[in-house]
């Protein structure tokens, strides 16, 4: 990609849109490649991503305007990752206002709160809780705005066979708090089933954990009890360890 960014991106976009008949989301940090990609798209694309960093404001946001496409804007700024809910909201409001001034309306913007691994000792669980709260108030401060997350980030660093538990549970939690979309694994049938309304009992249990209800897991089927334990970890109620399903 580094040597011939334009040619490579154009090739990638072409083979992809020959294969599928849906809009594309183009994810690159390279503005030259990004422009080539946007130019090649037949359907209105999603630019992934811009942020509150100055180089992004100067190079990525104008592309979104120029090609009249939707754009993912993350909460990142020149100062780095805002650590708590207030600073995340403040930073996204600043960047969205900047984009609005350029003529990009809220309904074309997909906010990315940036998920971090829950297994990071000390801070990981706090970040998970912060993103849930952030999603909960996003619509109040920025009406009609869309949102997205890179879902599997939440389970980075976790043993591979355990990652889906976190991804699935967290998606249900984020969705309840207003998440509009997610970059996730559509081949995970259980994940798709959960979101598609095939497991209403499990969804209800996860919601109960979010509401602070005390649930006796001993009376639950194994799968249900695993979802409850996972939701408790993601709410910061029980300390994370790789053995979280076992205790």
């Amino acid at each position: 990609m580094k040597k011939e960014p334009e040619e490579n991106m154009q090739w990638l976009v072409d083979v992809t849109q020959d294969a599928v008949d849906v809009p594309l989301c183009i994810d690159t940090m390279n503005p030259v490649a990004m422009e080539a990609g946007l130019k090649a798209c037949r359907k209105r694309p999603l630019l992934n991503s811009a942020s509150g960093k100055s180089d992004s404001k100067e190079q990525m946001l104008p592309l979104a305007k120029k090609y009249d496409c939707d754009v993912v804007i993350s909460v990142m700024t020149d100062k780095g990752m805002p650590p708590d809910v207030d600073s995340k909201i403040e930073s996204i409001m600043d960047t969205v206002a900047y984009a609005n001034d350029m003529g990009i309306p809220n309904q074309d913007i997909w906010v990315d709160p940036i998920l971090l691994p829950v297994s990071t000792a000390g801070e990981g669980q706090r970040f998970a809780v912060v993103c849930l709260e952030f999603m909960n108030i996003l619509d109040d401060v920025l009406p009609e705005i869309k949102s997205t997350v890179g879902l599997s980030n939440v389970s980075n660093g976790v043993p591979a066979e355990l990652r889906p538990h976190l991804n699935r549970t967290y998606l249900v939690m984020l969705e309840r708090n207003g998440l509009y979309s997610a970059i996730a694994d559509p081949l995970d049938k259980e994940l798709m089933g959960l979101i598609g309304g095939e497991m209403p009992g499990v969804v209800e249990l996860i919601h109960k954990v979010m509401d602070g209800e005390d649930i006796d897991v001993s009376g639950l089927a194994q799968k249900e009890s695993e979802y409850v334990k996972t939701a408790r970890v993601l709410m910061g109620e029980t300390l994370y360890s790789d053995a979280w399903l076992e205790s």
């Binding site: 000390g122 029980t238 300390l239 994370y240 360890s241 053995a243």
Partner: protein, 301 residues
């Protein structure tokens, strides 16, 4: 308006763990308040306890001022252990350094026999630390446990890599385990969960690894503090165990401690005092004078 100090009451209780047997026994933990929070509702039935560390061989790199209090006994671990009792210790901690494959690779049988002789020769409970080599320890520590059957020694380190073999031997032969993980609360909890599947949690003591002042002590401090908070405030069963801070060896590795005696005593004393404030229940030091310095500081009301 009259000021009324807030009083907290917490749900979690640190398990009370007994090491040793009969008149040679000692209780640690049992508190349901945060460290030194005597103003809150609850109590700490067992104040912090102290052990001095001895080594199963002539220590290779100790500065003169660290050797000094034990000069005449340092080549005989049995006598050295007895000498520790002159300094009002609550326990003696034996480090089986010679078994380390990188040191002398001494055989398990020899280490086990020596451990038994030392345990029988003192009037306080014995803590035993293997070399920390996960493979060799899986050979040495089970042998130690077997030879010292029923003496309820405090044996470790039980690691993620060898907890099944080492943990089972400690349990079957009637001892208490030191579960050790590398300065990470998630790993610490994971080990306790896994060990706790077959090992009684009231016989587990947590060793979160203790770093010396200037060499990462603040990491140990934060971790110990957090283990206590998670256990006592949020009642996480797998962190409600007492904590051992094995800090002597780390402190005397510091060049500041090696340089001169007074600096060494302060280095070890300050590290001990800090980790005690964080919530350590049992502290292992090397020098009798830093031990008395720490105790004196604590006793000043």
């Amino acid at each position: 308006m009259e000021y009324k100090a807030p009083v907290e009451a917490y749900a979690g209780v640190v398990r009370e763990v007994t090491i040793g047997t009969g008149r040679k026994s000692l209780k640690i933990g049992g508190e349901n308040i945060l460290p030194l929070h005597f103003f809150d509702e609850g109590s700490n039935p067992n104040p912090a306890r102290f052990a001095l560390e001895i080594i199963d061989m002539q220590p290779p790199d100790w500065p003169k001022h660290a050797v000094e209090p034990f000069q005449d006994v340092i080549s005989d671990p049995v006598k050295w252990a007895r000498r520790c009792q002159d300094f009002a210790v609550d326990a003696v901690s034996l480090y089986l350094m010679s078994t380390d494959p990188a040191v002398k690779d001494a055989p398990a049988d020899k280490a086990a026999a020596l451990t038994r002789e030392i345990a029988e020769g003192i009037d306080v409970p014995l803590i035993v630390y293997g070399s920390g080599d996960e493979v060799k320890d899986a050979e040495v520590l089970p042998r130690v446990a077997e030879v010292c059957e029923g003496m309820n020694l405090l044996i470790g380190p039980v690691l993620k890599e060898n907890y099944e073999a080492v943990g089972k031997a400690i349990m079957d032969h009637g001892h208490t385990a030191i579960a050790q993980s590398p300065l990470d609360i998630n790993l610490l909890k994971e080990l306790n969960v896994k060990l706790g599947k077959f090992f009684p949690p009231e016989r587990i003591v947590i060793d979160p690894l203790s770093s010396a002042l200037g060499y990462g002590m603040e990491y140990s401090f934060s971790l110990i503090e957090r283990v206590k908070q998670i256990g006592i405030i949020t009642k996480d069963s797998m962190t409600m165990m007492p904590i051992i801070a094995n800090l002597g060896g780390e402190c005397w590795k510091a060049k500041q401690a090696k340089e001169n005696k007074e600096q060494g005593l302060l280095w070890e004393g300050m590290t001990a005092l800090s980790l005690l404030l964080a919530g350590a229940n049992l502290l292992v030091l090397r020098h009798p004078e830093s031990l008395s310095l720490t105790k004196e500081t604590l006793e000043v009301k």
